[in-house]
Symmetry: C3
Subunit: 195 residues, 3 copies
């Protein structure tokens, strides 16, 4: 594995666990058993990346690496144990923001690394980072983010666009990833605070 692949590998784990936790938090509003809870977390966690891999024709990332599902389940158990306080809704919002920006960068990076056209790679980053949250909201029976007036897709677009732009101009992978990630998180944070 090159350094680039290693980076993608760990970023992928982080984005998956964070989204899984956000799915678990959404599920925690109703009162299912622990298995359904974990199942819901897993779908939210790997949903966006699964969509990305299907679209670009890559083997679905978690199928031969059980570690991803384990990460989702660990995140779900963490939420199950700790999320009985009042900060549940806030935590969901912020975890979602972090997962959104991370997935946007990872999705764009994976698409670029497989030779996808840069324009499509950005779209891929946006589509797949938003898809996890859309699946979560549709399954939870809540109005999904596409129907709200909040700045959400725009934040994903900013992360994906900044990362792709800097990469194409020859910037270092980690620098581009960090700048792209924080740009998206910052925009989403503003949207959460001033909405």
């Amino acid at each position: 594995m090159t350094a680039f692949e290693t980076a993608l590998y760990w970023l992928d784990y982080a984005a998956v666990a964070v989204f899984a936790a956000s799915g678990a938090l959404a599920a925690a509003r109703t009162r299912q058993d622990i298995v359904t809870f974990g199942f819901f977390a897993a779908i939210t966690g790997v949903g966006g990346g699964t969509m990305r891999d299907l679209l670009i024709g890559a083997p679905v990332f978690w199928v031969q690496r059980p570690g991803y599902i384990v990460a989702c389940l660990v995140a779900a158990v963490g939420v199950w144990i700790f999320a009985r306080r009042g900060w549940r809704f806030r935590a969901l919002l912020w975890l979602d923001a972090v997962g959104l920006a991370a997935y946007a960068v990872v999705g764009t990076a994976k698409a670029l690394s497989l030779g996808v056209h840069p324009f499509s790679a950005i779209i891929m980053g946006v589509l797949t980072s938003c898809f996890g949250g859309v699946i979560r909201d549709v399954l939870a029976g809540e109005p999904n983010l596409l129907m709200s007036r909040e700045i959400y897709v725009t934040a994903a677009l900013l992360s994906a666009g900044v990362f792709a732009g800097m990469t194409l101009m020859g910037a270092d992978f980690w620098l581009a990833a960090l700048v792209g990630f924080f740009a998206g998180v910052a925009l989403r944070a503003c949207a959460i605070r001033y909405n």
Copy 2:
């Protein structure tokens, strides 16, 4: 590219743009920002064809050809600018009818051209032409067409069946496509008028 492939290519563009416009019209009922609006249009526009390509194992058509997403965004911007009049709901109904019939023909044609069994090719045309609208309605949180009593799936079946039947009997591609297309549009038009 053979004439057949060229025909499919342009029909695909037309169906995608028309469905994207219908998605944009559905999204226009709530009041999102322009990026979410375009995102919604793009999902509706390429959703059905994406499903078709995943099912028949072909590379997803828009991933390496950014033009499709651009066509969706152009359609979305057109709706954004012009759709502030009273004819919004009517326009959505008719665009949807045209997109439905076009996708049914294109989906069946692509499946047939890849050697899929004719019966499955018809199913593919129906599934994928209806899928764009189903995704749109599920994401928009509206009762989807499968739950209504309207003649919708039947119109797609008519388009796909007529096209596949005529093609198998040796008819010219364009003749079969036009007859199939207009048969579906006509049936759907009757359903819209007399419902």
Copy 3:
């Protein structure tokens, strides 16, 4: 075809038809035309297996074998004719339980036979057996099973886990399949009775 493949083949047909009937029963609550009715049954019937095949990168099972869709349509017509009595809701519950356990075993078996990691194969069995019902509920606009407190995913996990465990310990295919199937049905039956 080996005996193993033959077994999978027939189990697949059975699970598909049973799920299609459950989809048709759900659709029967609203009053669509027969084509939409069949379409809904087909989506529910093949939805879970389609997801499984896309995830493990196998050709989608029904595309080149029209028999599966025919089985769905036969199941739909059966429901259309017979399901006008009072036992509709009960029948849906029980058919769903049988389909759930059957799909969990079939999904796990197919994934194992293609060399998927056992842990992922179990996840695959659970995901795909639950997915048919989730699609059905989302399209029917009903609160889906993931949001209920019922033991549902757990039953699928039991079927998939028992089957995979026995297979890995060298048990006969049919013995493992039957024990796994009945374990899941029994657990789900308890959940239905004592809820």
